[in-house]
């Protein structure tokens, strides 16, 4: 018996020590400063810039003639071409709702800037903001809401001069494409036969916050709270509706358009939609700010604009 008692004592004290250590480290994480994040960032960035310039220098002379020849048929782009440019990798953190549009845009960009490798990271804007705060190697951040960008600006984690509003979106109510409920408006959601409504978690997903604001404006929030199924990002909400496991959901117009399994039954009031702004900014800790700025400028080009509009976004006029 004595042996078991001392074994348990050791076990208990070890576990208390573990609890204490984890609490301390978690506390430390919640109050990050720019210095600590940049320290982390430098170590991760070290791995990135290892491309050999020799190979690109050799190829740059030959295609320059041909690329310029090709370029005469398309409207001149404000971006720089690959003349004697080193290989660059750009990490782009973008809100989940931009997935389809950015994928197409990035393909176009890489075609015209062969020395650039683009690595997108799509997630909920709140998640992306957390990641940047924790020092993830992002060079560009495109958020689906202003508050996430504001928070980063307040922590000096973005280059303020590079912050611009890029896109507008609108919030829509969608149902599974085989739905027979015949919903036509936001207030229809209060009906008894609507049992579950998918929205993004308002605490971290901008689309969810807008949804809540839309409900608040209509005064129906209390009736709907018990029906919420919360997604970690807007794509999760979309897939909940597509699967038919919920009766309705609130996503962006662009998300609804990207899917074939849902139909749009209503749009949020213009006052709500006007707030849905997608700001873009260069992350302060970037090591390739020139390339990042160049990419950002590309996002405002007319080529980019047509792609964005194709997917249902409205481009903010500069």
């Amino acid at each position: 018996m004595k042996k078991i008692m001392s074994k348990t004592k050791i076990l208990v004290s070890l576990s208390l020590l573990l609890v204490w250590v984890s609490l301390i480290s978690l506390m430390g994480c919640s109050s990050t400063t720019a210095s600590t994040t940049s320290a982390v960032v430098t170590t991760t960035k070290a791995a990135v810039t290892t491309q050999a310039p020799a190979s690109t220098a050799a190829t740059s002379t030959v295609p320059s003639a041909t690329t310029t020849a090709v370029k005469t048929t398309t409207p001149p782009m404000p971006t720089t071409t690959t003349t004697a440019a080193a290989a660059v990798e750009l990490n782009i953190s973008a809100a989940a709702s931009l997935t389809e549009a950015l994928t197409e845009l990035n393909a176009l960009y890489v075609k015209n800037n062969s020395n650039v490798t683009l690595t997108p990271n799509f997630a909920g804007s709140g998640t992306l903001q957390k990641q940047i705060e924790q020092g993830s190697p992002a060079d560009i951040f495109i958020s689906a809401g202003a508050s996430q960008m504001d928070t980063l600006a307040g922590e000096n984690l973005i280059i303020t001069s590079s912050r611009k509003n890029l896109l507008n979106n609108s919030l829509v109510l969608i149902v599974p494409s085989d739905s027979t409920l015949g919903l036509t408006s936001f207030t229809d959601l209060t009906r008894d036969d609507v049992k579950q409504i998918a929205i993004g978690d308002p605490a971290s997903v901008p689309a969810g916050k807008y949804a809540q604001q839309a409900f608040d404006a209509l005064g129906i929030t209390d009736k709907l709270t018990s029906k919420y199924v919360m997604g970690a990002d807007v794509k999760a909400v979309l897939s909940y509706v597509e699967s038919g496991n919920v009766q309705a959901g609130l996503v962006y117009l662009t998300d609804a358009k990207a899917s074939t399994k849902v139909k749009i039954v209503a749009t949020a009031a213009p006052e709500i939609n006007a707030k849905i702004v997608y700001p873009v900014a260069v992350v302060a800790a970037t090591k390739v700010s020139d390339a990042a700025v160049a990419y950002e400028n590309f996002l405002f080009s007319s080529d980019a604009k047509s792609i964005f509009e194709k997917w249902g976004f409205t481009v903010v006029s500069q």
């Binding site: 576990s15 573990l18 984890s22 978690l26 605490a203 919420y228 199924v229 919360m230 997604g231």
Partner: protein, 233 residues
């Protein structure tokens, strides 16, 4: 304010309790069956039982979602009764049962197999039918192992996240168990809430480990006495 902590705690407690009861009986039944089963499909059935332990929880969750979802076989069957399991509290129990069952099964089976067949045979020759053999001989001797298995699966179901999120979703007040609440709290930047919930989970988990250590110490009772007598003659 306290209800943001109480709600996940309450949901988790209910889920864990229901899960442990179900897994206890299912696991023991399966373990007893497989410990004595000599058929050809033994490895296959054993593999199926242990599969959720080996697969990533998201894979299991995905499988459950397809099975219980609106277009899945079980989902369509339940739709006949106008019920759905996806995004409801029973889904947390289902996900937790599937993920913790392998632990209960494996550990209990090990305990049953450690009981000497001779002892069970002796009970049979003394007139005990299979039920009596199980309850009066096998189970008491395997009890420390079964108790450890129960505690292990309890701890596992408490921490179940991936499959739960996929099948039950995040519905605060209904299906948001402690692990789900922790995840979304961190997403939202509410570290205080996350820490409190983490502390609760740690306390429960370490209690479970201490309980397991205690039961292991009592394991000696289950070993039969072979050539180990003290010479009192």
């Amino acid at each position: 304010m306290p209800e943001t902590y109480l709600s996940p705690l309450w949901i988790s407690l209910r889920t864990v309790l229901a899960t442990t009861v179900i897994t206890f009986f299912l696991g023991i039944a399966a373990a007893r069956w497989m410990a004595r089963y000599r058929g050809k499909c033994k490895t296959l059935i054993d593999g199926i039982f242990i599969l959720p332990l080996v697969l990533p929880p998201t894979v299991v969750g995905f499988g459950l979602l397809i099975f219980f979802g609106r277009h899945g076989p079980m989902g369509q069957f339940l739709a006949l009764f106008d019920t759905t399991v996806v995004f409801s509290w029973p889904a947390t129990v289902i996900a937790a049962v599937v993920m913790s069952f392998p632990l209960m099964y494996m550990t209990s089976r090990g305990a049953f197999e450690q009981v000497e067949p001779n002892i069970e045979d002796a009970a049979r020759t003394l007139g005990a039918n299979e039920w009596k053999v199980f309850w009066s001989v096998t189970f008491p001797l395997a009890w420390p192992g079964v108790a450890a298995a129960t505690v292990l699966s309890l701890a596992r179901s408490l921490g179940e996240f991936g499959a739960t999120l996929m099948l039950a979703g995040n519905i605060p007040g209904k299906t948001a168990t402690i692990p789900v609440a922790i995840y979304f709290a961190i997403q939202a930047g509410d570290y205080n809430k996350a820490l409190v919930l983490v502390a609760i989970v740690l306390i429960i988990s370490f209690s479970a480990i201490a309980a397991m250590a205690y039961w292991k110490g009592r394991q000696f009772l289950s070993k039969s006495i072979v050539n180990k007598p003290q010479n009192f003659e």
